[in-house]
Symmetry: C2
Subunit: 504 residues, 2 copies
């Protein structure tokens, strides 16, 4: 009987060399026979849920060799597991954990789900807004903020670079790379920033990061203490605020007007703040560009008060009317500015690549911090991105997207004028979003409801750290074509009207 | 004359559509003529170093359109810049910033290099050991720790998966992904960990991170306050210690013996510590495996003192003699263990992929923290890794590497016995490194000198948070073939002997 099972079994397990060997503990000195031990281990792993229905089991030969035992006890145990229905074997697909097990309840409930009541967790990690409570985030469709014209991305060219790098990859590329990032990419970024943003730096000052959030994280860990007071634009970028809160900083909300951050107001509120975080190219969410005189005031303040300026040069590549103004970093004469940029908006978000331009004297400090945090960036995407820039695809793509987003922005503004007259639009003609103001509404509630109708409005009020002065919506136009715009705006009008009716 | 230049110039700039447009500010209302403004802007950008020698300049047509001016002033300015040697033009390569500029000193020294004396920087980011002072880190050659058998990596298969994903990539893959990571990969990891490590979890509890350092960072931000006391193995993993220090934790060094972390000693030192960080599968650096009874003691302590256990399951895939012992996470019945793993050692380091298994009740908290830190992982490598596991390449690769590393370890132990008799080797037959003890030497000094002879020894003493009890070297054997081993060990013997002579 056992032999029969063995033969039957063996016919099924020819193709299982790629199965993962489970953790089976046996004790050669125990009185219990080996086959019984193997059987018991499998049975409890299956009932305990660590082995899952449908999962392939390793060959008897493989397991015997792993355990350092003869094949006979393994064959016997497998035969029993098959006979009792814990295993199943099908021609072609080998032997697996049975898909039809007696008590699926046992399988699902893991025994360590018992959670004690007292669990010490940090207060600073209690960040507002789990994603599931903010349906307007990260959704696909009209007005999604941070979404690019995905369909216009030069996939073909990008994939050619990816494939080329696959061919070129050598053993050394698999090892840990420079924690600052790939030299080639840093060189390309230094040239790009000097040329387009007036940033003064060498490639040695550039650190590649996984995006502007990580950039801000590193800056705050090197420059800011728990308890440090930081100016933030009010309203401002909520994710950046969350990060500063996570690091124990105290937010000083400084109002934004049509010239950007109101420096004089900041000085009145807290002239001795340790740092100011700003988005001067295209303020998030209001969309204004910081004027040249405000830039000089801010730099002047930083010098007098020995403070840091964290310049998140958000959306700097897309401006449609005004002349470019040099970055704060390029105007700074006191090494007070740390410059932050990202490829999320100009290439694509899931690439997770950005950069920091670090004051020369702090490069080593930033690097040590980065190594402690995550050793450094992944090599492969950096190599591809470096070529994408150096071979000119990057600037060509930006130029193409600039005219595309300009058209999309115009279409949105025009439709808003047609459909929702009197709606105020703030900010300059730049970037991939605009901000609409509508007083006397509950923007969160409307956004919540609109999301259920597949319309992704980011409400303005959560952008305020303090009391929300204005209500409205941040509308992304990057991923909505000119043709689709009027329809999307009509849906927006309906969402607004629907609420009015409910209020009445 | 101007027209002549224009014609000459135009002949050169046919191919510059991919040049980056520099930041040129003009003022239409100014009395200075436009061509003079354009000339001045270029000149100061070149002298200021934001435009670099050899860099391609945009076409006159492109710049004129960017600036919204007619082409004439641009042509005039370009002609003047060419005539004065700021630009150069060569047949075939278009017009560039001149490679032979008068004063390269001016170009290099950026005006914001002036660093004020008072710069507020955090103390906790003053981490020990810049990489440049530790030449034994990240080098290529014999005994490099953390280096894998790069040449045996199945490049061909990996590249096939990469290329396939290039073809399959859709617009949606470019958008931000799930901050927890790709569902496919998390499913594969859940099955893998349940099977091989006895980890009890669902895919929903798994978060993809960029490696074990980031995993530890997230854990410590959610679970540990600045000032929290944390047990660490003594000697232990220095990079992990740096991270905890960066986060303001207080290290409680708990001695490691032949059974792993000495729990009783830990209780005597600080029974109320908030957490314990351990590497139970293959302790770094001593290489011991934590015994089953110590595991139970540790879990028992955690339950009694309401403490967390951070289980870094380092090197768990490579054991060559002993039976596997279930992970602490799998033995835990109180949701006290956070399990950390990485693909750096089993796939390759520059992939930057690892994972955390989070207690069910803390998943949301971890996720919010992660979003604040860096939004989430990059999608592409996750997709490739998911397929690599699901199609069986991963477990095949591990199995192959297990027997390869076993051979390499044996060869190293044998050569050490032949060449350096009496050298003590600690730990179990596992992993990709072993630790040798030699009392009465200066291991840092020897490692420093050996590095200059292309031999990469990691000294043992910096692994101690307190006074170094023992001296010796951590020797990686992952990237050294059996054939090269005797030669590498002879070099090691020479390095040790050389020092003895210097001491005498």
């Amino acid at each position: 009987m056992a032999q029969e099972w063995h033969n039957h079994y063996d016919a099924q397990v020819r193709k299982v060399s790629s199965a993962i060997t489970p953790i089976i503990s046996i004790d050669r000195k125990a009185s219990r026979p080996l086959h019984q031990q193997i059987y018991d281990e499998y049975r409890s792993a299956i009932l305990g849920g660590t082995l899952r229905p449908g999962q392939t089991v390793p060959s008897t030969r493989g397991l015997a060799s792993e355990l350092g035992v003869s094949r006979i006890p393994v064959l016997t145990a497998y035969a029993q597991l098959l006979a009792e229905g814990y295993f199943q074997s099908r021609v072609g697909s080998g032997t697996t954990i049975s898909l039809a097990l007696p008590s699926p309840g046992i399988l699902k409930k893991s025994p360590n789900a018992r959670v004690p009541s007292r669990r010490p967790i940090t207060n600073h990690s209690a960040l507002p807004g789990a994603i599931k409570n903010q349906p307007w985030l990260r959704r696909w469709g009209a007005f999604g903020v941070g979404q690019v014209a995905f369909e216009k991305f030069p996939f073909h060219m990008w994939n050619r670079l990816v494939t080329r790098h696959c061919r070129l990859v050598s053993a050394k590329d698999l090892d840990y790379g420079d924690p600052m990032g790939l030299k080639n990419l840093r060189d390309a970024i230094a040239v790009y920033l000097g040329t387009t943003r007036g940033v003064r730096c060498s490639a040695e000052q550039i650190m590649i990061v996984s995006g502007s959030q990580q950039a801000l994280d590193i800056c705050s860990r090197v420059l800011l203490e728990p308890g440090s007071r930081v100016w933030m634009e009010e309203p401002g970028y909520r994710f950046a605020r969350n990060l500063l809160v996570l690091n124990g900083c105290v937010i000083v909300p400084v109002p934004v007007d049509h010239e950007g951050l109101n420096v004089a107001a900041g000085v009145r509120l807290d002239g001795k703040a340790r740092a100011a975080l700003v988005t001067p190219s295209h303020q998030y969410p209001l969309g204004v560009t910081m004027s040249a005189s405000r830039r000089m005031q801010l730099l002047d303040w930083a010098e007098r008060s020995q403070s840091w300026i964290l310049e998140d040069d958000y959306d700097s590549d897309y401006r449609y009317e005004s002349m470019p103004i040099s970055s704060l970093q390029g105007l700074d004469r006191n090494s007070r500015v740390v410059y932050i940029g990202t490829f999320s908006k100009v290439v694509f978000p899931s690439l997770r690549l950005g950069y920091i331009v670090i004051p020369e004297d702090l490069v080593e400090r930033f690097q040590a911090c980065r190594v402690a945090m995550d050793i450094g960036p992944t090599t492969f995407t950096q190599a591809v991105m470096g070529d994408f820039i150096r071979e000119g695809h990057f600037s060509r793509h930006i130029r193409r997207m600039r005219s595309l987003y300009n058209e999309r922005r115009k279409a949105l503004v025009e439709s808003l004028g047609d459909e929702i007259p009197g709606l105020e639009i703030t900010g300059t003609q730049a970037g991939m979003h605009l901000c609409t103001i509508r007083e006397g509404i509950q923007d969160r509630e409307i956004a919540d409801r609109a999301a259920h109708a597949n319309l992704w409005l980011v409400p303005l009020s959560p952008s305020y750290a303090g009391k929300a002065v204005r209500q409205g919506f941040i509308l992304g136009f990057g991923s909505t074509s000119v043709e689709e715009m009027p329809g999307a705006v009509r849906k927006l009008r309906a969402a607004l009207r629907d609420v009015k009716r409910r209020i009445l």
